[in-house]
Symmetry: D2
Subunit: 365 residues, 4 copies
């Protein structure tokens, strides 16, 4: 994991540190701070800010981090000017859409991923897959390595279930993805799947991110329910630093004190991210809502705010499922939702159709 070559693309001064000295720092104190910096191998230039003084470090790469420098006596605070996730920031120039085996997210395409929470039996999986494909979903989802808060809950069907999912996806003609939870799974699974999902609870499982990134497969990176944007983009940075540019960001709601929704959907992060990165941003209204009746309005809100896609849990018989029953959307409600998504996408000149094979290069992937 490295960041070679990224520095040259940034404008001069973009990465400087401003070391603000305490008010009233006299020349002796300023010299002492400069000396302490030199001992740490840091070159700094003194500047005057009105009645205050500061030291500017143009090349902080080899220096101790900003918070270490803040421990030097006479320093009031250190203000870093550099972006914290330069590879992610760089996608703003280069980014278009990202495709999961022909299903395109971003670059004018609104892609909808749908399927059951967990792969439980082949018959109901085939039924759901056929229905979501008919409704216009472009990618299938389904969990086989589950992240369950309790060890006493159902843990998923593992590799056998994954093969079943792969078979059904082929039958209905959709690509699919599944969540990985352990770097040891990556080798076995990489050949089978079209995309890899990193779940919210594993957003900062950096060894997993690195292994998943190295497969070159598209990575759907969910935001942790307590992650701020910088933490999320720095998790994406771990994948980007492997050389894999195919990252799809997925907002799925934030933990809060509220009880009317399971998680608070941060719909504002969608337009915010559009200003900071070029990666596609999709939304998971199911986990945010935790209540199927709120899934369609949240999904509509996400697309109206500019989301490049959705990932939705669909199940025809939620009372019999082993996980996430409250948020599972009945297939007919999903069908109506897809009509709304098409209408909303059209308002902005966007489409929900998957790119045809020939178009893949058009979105740069």
């Amino acid at each position: 994991v490295g960041s070679k070559g990224i520095e040259s693309a940034r404008p001069r001064g973009a990465r400087a540190l401003i070391i603000l000295l305490t008010p009233g720092a006299g020349s002796a104190q300023r010299a002492a701070v400069a000396r302490a910096l030199r001992e740490l191998g840091v070159e700094a230039e003194e500047v005057r800010l009105g009645a205050r003084h500061a030291l500017v470090v143009e090349r902080p790469e080899a220096a101790p981090p900003a918070e270490s420098l803040a421990r030097i006596d006479g320093v009031e605070r250190v203000i870093p000017l550099a972006p914290r996730a330069p590879l992610a920031a760089g996608t703003l120039r280069t980014g278009g859409g990202v495709a999961i085996a022909g299903a395109v997210f971003g670059g004018g395409h609104v892609g909808v991923i749908a399927g059951p929470c967990t792969i439980e039996d082949a018959a109901s999986l085939r039924d759901i897959a056929a229905r979501v494909a008919a409704a216009g979903a472009v990618c299938l989802r389904g969990g086989v390595f589950k992240v369950r808060t309790s060890p006493h809950s159902y843990q998923g069907g593992g590799l056998a279930a994954l093969r079943e999912l792969a078979g059904v996806a082929r039958e209905v003609g959709l690509p699919f993805l599944t969540e990985l939870t352990d770097p040891r799974q990556v080798e076995d699974v990489a050949g089978l799947v079209d995309g890899i999902q990193i779940g919210a609870r594993h957003m900062q499982n950096f060894p997993l991110l690195v292994e998943a990134g190295r497969t070159g497969k598209p990575i759907l990176l969910k935001r942790h329910m307590a992650a701020d944007v910088d933490e999320w983009l720095l998790a994406a940075e771990y994948v980007l630093a492997t050389g894999n540019q195919r990252v799809i960001l997925c907002e799925r709601g934030l933990k809060s004190g509220e009880r009317h929704v399971r998680y608070l959907l941060d719909v504002g992060v969608v337009p915010y991210l559009k200003r900071r990165v070029g990666l596609p941003v999709i939304v998971d209204p199911s986990h945010a809502a935790g209540d199927w009746r709120l899934v369609p309005p949240l999904a509509r809100a996400a697309v109206a705010a500019g989301a490049d896609g959705l990932i939705v849990e669909v199940h025809p018989r939620p009372e019999a499922t082993r996980s996430d029953a409250l948020q599972a959307l009945p297939p007919d409600a999903f069908l109506r939702l897809m009509d709304d998504v098409r209408a909303l996408a059209a308002m902005d000149g966007r489409s929900v159709q998957p790119a045809r094979a020939g178009e893949r290069s058009a979105v740069g992937i």
Copy 2:
């Protein structure tokens, strides 16, 4: 402030308390709990729940509150079945839209309130008012009694500024509202304004809510940035308990650890509230975003999620304003936003036009 007459409308059993006893509570302990309840004037019936025992209180009105009963030895927990805000819950049956002097929110109408944060000078106010009216806003906003975090910030123009706002509103033919912050303001102001705004920081200023409610004017009740839904509905309950049914709820974003938006817009609360109350729910994207570039997508998300309206800050020269400059939308961006709002409202068969005078009774107000 009282709740006379509301009890009769609720189905039997809706307000019961279930007092769950500790596992293994024997007959002597059960009798002791029952005796403690009788001494507090509480009648309870013992029921068996499988291997557990509970006491059911059918009429808890005269009893100490549930948390007091939980202090009795042998009680594991007390589960109240009653809704906490019965007047607000009752609006689910009766509610339609609410009008501010002909500007209708709800009942099929999406109403947009717009204007500057603060009334500063007559010329710019008149300019903004004319532009937002032309763009399709149905109500004017403007602050004269400001709630400023710091005593060293500009505190607003007071009654003189309010008279100016009233004059400009009359000129452009729009109703208007302003925020009140002190129960002592109510008498002076009630005759001048078309609607009263209760700001987020005053959502639990109960003396103010009661005074404002008693004017009979429409009350725009903003949600505190840390209020859960029950707290918000109970604040509305204070207004409803004065006999004033004209409450418009306004979501404006929740405080969080995030820094990319000023407050986290809880867009999911819109469809959630539609299931619990009949009061109109509008959204303030300006204070949530804290950044004018995020206001249009958040506004669109709100309407797509079913909001009955918006309240938006608009200013043509934000760099010269004394408050909330970062979120002020330029008038031309507001014009484009109104086109989007009309298109989104039409998707659901709703309209953004104000009700004509003759229609007011149709929405029950």
Copy 3:
């Protein structure tokens, strides 16, 4: 409400604004920003920060606020160097303890305020007052104007209850305070009480703060359950700006998603504030815990972290109370807690005894 005279005490440069220009801003763009500033009446000096440029505003008092200046084209961000609450910051030099009629908080004294949540009947009030006085409390508390989330909950006994509380306080020889909730109460109440409590939900009720401050009585200012430190100190600033320096800050727990405590006690704010202000800081473990069994350990933690006092709810028969039963400490547990408080205070050379009359001047109040 003003801040006259405070500026002169601050060192030069302490209040400057640094206006950082976008990377790569050329001389034409820099000139345009400077011109825009001049049109707003703002004088600025250009400085170079390595490869970047900035404008320094030495006297931002008359300028639009920082966020308005951030709307000027070519500005990346505005960094204010001034403290936001200068009067509160100034107490760091002047502060010692604050006394409520002889009960001292701070300056080496740990003061404990105790009493029932609500004044309900004279007999139980007299019983509690006598017991907490005997245990070592230095001030009595009791609510008569209650802030109840629901209009259907008990609203308090009003002025009649306040007179009862005053009488009992006199009998047991303790000063007392009560919470005010409405600026219209201040005149009636100011002559009766020894101190005024501003509750968490009214922390930003600025008209109330100003009226309460003007009485000159000691003000116990609770932190809102969602207020950050700056918001809290700026609320104190409203009181200080009336000329009343007798402010006691009270931490009472923050709202969070956690359910094991009612509010999350921010024990770290105690030592943090000691570095920023000279005002005494006390802690309310009762409202934070929401469970009487957690009150003693939280109270001990607060004193061990340096709190200048506690405010604790005590009741011998919580199952019969009309509010806050779960957190009411039985009198014998309060007695044991006071032993711990004395031992902890002694560890730091502090005492829990109230100042004798002759000592009052020693703490400057």
Copy 4:
């Protein structure tokens, strides 16, 4: 991962589900719900709760989870009575202290772990280790597999650094622990270390928890900065389910909107957990504070609230470190802190001395 044998220990009825039907559910609707349950293989008994009806499921083990049952028409809500983390709950009966190679936490012993954030060079490590041992720390800490938010930050020294740490620990005669971040590290490391730390960001990395648990080594399980207590105890449950009972819980502060501390230390969770589980609970004041000057008061608060130990970052030259400089305590401040810890522990009749070899069995480990 299983829970065999735990059921028999729980009292009858402790694990029941109460399925509350909607108010006014008639006999036909009740029968329909019962029928739906039978089709899912769930046996239920109907009970009357005053005017309401409910179904009680005594043996919900084989049934779909509660939230699935809540999707059945006619069900208002499902109230589970079972504890969610039964193995953790069971430690309340069995628990005493837990030892890391003779360093005891709990059971009357307050254990302090100290050391640098990261193992950087042998000389400074040896210096720190000698000083913290002399001050009374009972266990050494040091990171070699770092969890860094950014891929561009220093990632730790790996196995080579771990061997260095092991050597220094042996020299100074203290046991040590280090954080693991990847299940693939476990095999290599298990033979080297005295204890394994699971960091906050990996609290729900269940494959890692299972591998670490299976080593039988003591597991220091940090609470995620956004985890509620149930999530934390369920993470401990994953370790306990491997048969490893040597779990030490470590509170390290919660994410919040506050900026005056890095994380909000939840000091109340210490006494709360003492009522729910028998596992030792220690506190990390360093990561919570994010500022070394706040570390001693937070540490004192933790011990005063009943914590069984502390884990503290110590460094003599923080300005030269590659991580966490702001919170590193200078060795002399650590020395003074240990005096306070001893005094606070003594107040409760507890000691900070490590158990001698012969005492290990006394704490059951």
